[in-house]
């Protein structure tokens, strides 16, 4: 068995674990570190529910190995709010009814967070393009776009 020592910082907390090379980053985050905010939807790289930010870059964590994240700083949905204080984007999701079942929400929030960091004033088209990798089967996307627009400057 190919075992590797991996050290990552997730939402400011450092973790060190032994992982098998075959372990996907999403399983490491959810199963080994018990950070279950990031979801597994399709496990085929299509749905985006597992989206996290690795060293400032938005990725789908089901298409990256845990061992590849060694030394990285990772942000997950748990790191957005400051205690009970939601980010403006999270509040906007709540106020605009941008979720129903909530399954896609962690990925949507990470993708929209990555977009707004890079482009604080996205157009409607830019918002749609930025969320293309995140599938929602409840909302029809409209309220998600409304929520992102509400916090766009």
């Amino acid at each position: 068995m190919s075992s590797h020592s991996v050290t990552v910082t997730i939402n400011g907390v450092e973790y060190e674990r032994e992982v098998e090379a075959r372990k996907l980053l999403i399983h490491f985050i959810r199963d080994d570190l018990d950070l279950t905010g990031s979801h597994i939807g399709c496990d085929t790289g299509n749905c985006g529910a597992c989206s996290v930010i690795v060293d400032g870059t938005l990725v789908k964590s089901c298409m990256m190995l845990a061992v590849q994240a060694d030394g990285a700083a990772i942000e997950t949905v748990e790191g957005l709010a400051d205690g009970d204080e939601l980010t403006p984007l999270q509040k906007a999701f709540s106020e605009h009814h941008a979720l129903q079942c909530g399954y896609c929400t962690p990925g949507m929030l990470m993708s929209a967070t990555a977009l707004l960091r890079e482009n604080p004033s996205p157009s409607e088209d830019e918002i749609r393009k930025a969320l293309q990798g995140n599938i929602c089967r409840c909302t029809g996307y409209w309220n998600i776009f409304e929520a992102v627009k509400a916090v766009a400057k």
Partner: protein, 267 residues
């Protein structure tokens, strides 16, 4: 999904990567992983060793030479290509990679991974064939350079052999380029695509209709000539749930004309 057991190696240099790849028939280069990790989940590929190319700076980046030749490192991501000032010398490149999948995939997926996967529905094999790209393949024995016509060999097969690695792609100067596709959803998988390049003579490359890009050299840029070139190519496209062979052939003709028209407008 739990992958089959696999060893993992992180080489410190291209030379290191080449010796790892040569040492084991079951070793495979891991580029962005946006194809390979998924085919490993499906057990369609089961390498014994993954040689992770991420972190090899020598395989990254875009350079523009004084004569207009672009050199793209194999591990350059789609996002990096879109943001490259040098790549603007050939605007079609950023335009096309900007329609591959989604932000997350573009952030990790690489130009080299796209062409080495050589999925017949990928965007870059026909585009790089039309614009006359050359592929630089390294091994312990040295480096060889292969034109696009000889690089794509079959479904999921390229000229990159065991113990070899695609290091960079060079693209000659030019600007009269076009690309057209019919996709599943806005930026989804291609049902059929066509790339065209009018830099001197016209080159058109069709994707999704055969195992490898089909290169055509129509007699002129006129619509009739482009249609005739597609008709006379003897293509027998596959039928699948998205398109019959007949419809795909129809799309190939229409998309070739659209790509050629765009190329003409920019030449």
């Amino acid at each position: 999904m739990l992958l089959r057991e696999v060893e993992y190696a992180k080489p410190a240099s291209v030379a290191d990567a080449l010796s790892l790849l040569a040492a084991n028939d079951g070793a495979r280069a891991l580029a962005g992983g946006q194809t390979l990790i998924n085919v490993m989940k499906a057990r369609a590929a089961s390498p014994d060793v993954l040689v992770d190319l991420n972190g090899l700076a020598e395989l990254k980046g875009v350079e523009l030479a004084a004569d207009g030749t672009l050199t793209i490192g194999a591990m350059t991501t789609y996002t990096e290509l879109m943001q490259s000032a040098e790549a603007k010398a050939r605007p079609i490149l950023a335009e096309v990679v900007g329609t591959i999948a989604d932000v997350q995939v573009r952030n990790r997926g690489t130009v080299g991974g796209n062409v080495c996967a050589n999925d017949p529905t990928n965007h870059l094999p026909p585009l790089l064939t039309a614009i006359g790209a050359r592929f630089h393949i390294a091994s312990a024995a040295g480096e060889r350079e292969v034109p696009a016509e000889d690089f794509f060999l079959g479904v999921y097969m390229t000229a990159v052999g065991t113990g070899e690695l695609l290091t960079k792609i060079t693209i000659p100067a030019g600007k009269g380029d076009g690309f057209a596709a019919v996709t599943l959803g806005a930026d989804g998988t291609c049902i059929c695509n066509a790339a065209a390049s009018l830099n001197g003579s016209l080159r058109v490359a069709l994707g999704c209709v055969d195992a490898v890009p089909v290169l055509l050299q129509p007699e002129s840029i006129e619509e009739d000539a482009v249609r005739a070139a597609v008709k006379n190519a003897g293509i027998d496209p596959p039928s699948d749930v998205h398109a019959s062979a007949e419809y795909r052939l129809h799309l190939a003709e229409v998309l070739a004309v659209r790509a050629a028209r765009q190329a003409q407008g920019r030449a």
